[in-house]
Subunit: 369 residues, 2 copies
Amino acid sequence: MFNFNKNQLNKKPQNHTPLMKRKITLKQIAKELDVSISTVSKALRNSVEISEDTRQKVQAFAKLYNYRPNNIALSLKNRKTKTIGIIIPEIVHYFFSTVITGIELVANKRGYNVIVGLSNESFDKEVINMQMLANGSIDGFILSIAKETLLQQDYHHFTETINQGMPIVMFDRVVNEIPCDKVVVDDVKGAKQAVGKLVASGCKNIAIITTKDYVSVGKLRTQGYLEALEEHKIHPKASLILKIEDKLLSDDHLDKLEKEIELLFKSNKSIDGIFAVNELYAVTAIKVARKLGLEIPKSLQVVSFTDGVLSKHSTPSLTTVSQHGQRIGEKAADLLIDRLEMDEGDEEEEEVYETVVIETDLIERESTK
Amino acid sequence: MFNFNKNQLNKKPQNHTPLMKRKITLKQIAKELDVSISTVSKALRNSVEISEDTRQKVQAFAKLYNYRPNNIALSLKNRKTKTIGIIIPEIVHYFFSTVITGIELVANKRGYNVIVGLSNESFDKEVINMQMLANGSIDGFILSIAKETLLQQDYHHFTETINQGMPIVMFDRVVNEIPCDKVVVDDVKGAKQAVGKLVASGCKNIAIITTKDYVSVGKLRTQGYLEALEEHKIHPKASLILKIEDKLLSDDHLDKLEKEIELLFKSNKSIDGIFAVNELYAVTAIKVARKLGLEIPKSLQVVSFTDGVLSKHSTPSLTTVSQHGQRIGEKAADLLIDRLEMDEGDEEEEEVYETVVIETDLIERESTK
DNA sequence: TTGTACGCGTTATCAA
DNA sequence: TTGATAACGCGTACAA
């Protein structure tokens, strides 16, 4: 029916290594088959313009040489890369990893790749990473803000990115003044669930171990704690609120954490419930409490935010407020891709941004009665 | 000294949103400044060919409009993307996250980005992900093989990628027959350290909880266990070797894990030491042991492989063999980038591949005496 | 049915 | 000192 150029198929590979089949391009196929590039292109895309004969010839050849269109060329041509940039503070962190899992899941399903940058909680790294990616490498960002950025309250890199027409979806650590979609956990409500559980289980003196207020989620969880107390007519006591300066976790920091928690217990002998805004604070509290002779959950009950490995597998296992990180990631990716693909249609939609709240769940385990 | 085109600087933004400063290109700058594209390009790169005057003019304009060269265009032109593709089985996993941290660290330092694909332990997803990225999106791979791939022993996607001239660096779960650089932990030696520690602390009946043999690291750690016993003249007993079928961690799987471990203890009452090839097996063993009335480390000592959050923060904290994931990632990235940048010079170096062994450390904590 | 020409954004080479 | 042109790989409108 058809056959290849005589000197083609059994020609020796051009490269030194026998097996070397370098990536092949349209141009090369065209040359070998002695047709034009566009003919090859059309043939491969099953265009009706091309005769059955050449179509088959081209396709067979392409298959043999395992032709795949070059992504970069496509990106340049289409002015879109089909990849999403993720910027997160750190990746060695259960919550963030689950979010990435969720993002990757729907991104892949919808034909996108995922490129990851770590800010390491540093403002500068966040800015640099975003700049690197914003120069054409990606179509949009999904990010959670670094603590240092939150502290400095300098958000110009976000607004600039958005002004350049590149959409951002923020999750978890978000800031209201930026016009973009957001996916958050209802931290206040989650905290109220947690504290409510402690009250329901008979706790009278509930302490909270939280972060300084500039970490938005810490602040909100503290607020939830206070609201829950109020709802149950419990008078909050300043001495029961421990706000940790959450520097990067050095071993040194860990020591300090223990000391502060120990002090909390010692100056408030009557504590019978702890609400910790993250797992680490929770397990550390338990460790300290045990050292002081308290039994969990008999004389002290603990609820933690963030449902991670520690909660599930440490002993006693922790009652936690689960944030559903994966669901957050999935939602964030869907929001971003929806916006990316909407932009195609109506060039300029009315810019209306969504803030999606992912419900938390209370998962009861051994650290509460 | 110089000034911009009259209708330039105070021209109204083209876009509807007042602040909108869309990404600007060389072409646009050229048009606005009424010079040629190549002049702009040269001026921005401080070419001596360009007069001081126009150079400043162009640079000022570019700065004002925050010009950045488009990465995609550069990639197309230079035939390299300056980005590294990572394929790992899962990201919600302390070891893999630390490796990524290491990769990202040196990649960024050396001017590379990092794009992440998850195989989810599936052969198909591994293949698809690699194909997506191999079409021009990246310059090389760093990967750890999915369990399913290991099981099926189908490695054609690796060899094909390599034959196309795209280098791969494998880490942790590697396979010898593939010609590429590798970074591994000395699993045998690490296991020997662990078991040695148990022996030194007085254990006489040491059991191992490991994976089925097709997981290379599990097999090697089992081998280390056996060698350690031999060295200490302890006769290995088949009943002390528990090989877990390591399906994806469903809660169901967890139940089964507990049951199997419970059976291990019940049929071997004299066990006084456990070597677990990962943290989860270790904490689960401890949980079961406690339920059976064993005290840690008094009547049962435990050492685990992989130094993660669980080891550090669960109670009792675990004595572990640390794999130094971050160092592995750093080394892998350096190997890959070295090879990428070496290729530039001597087009075809003699293909000699390196296997770097990262030493493990024994970190003693509360689960051993 | 096939091929030519153009454009995506850059840089490099060579001509003016 | 500046500019025109080609090339990277692709897809497509249009011409043949």
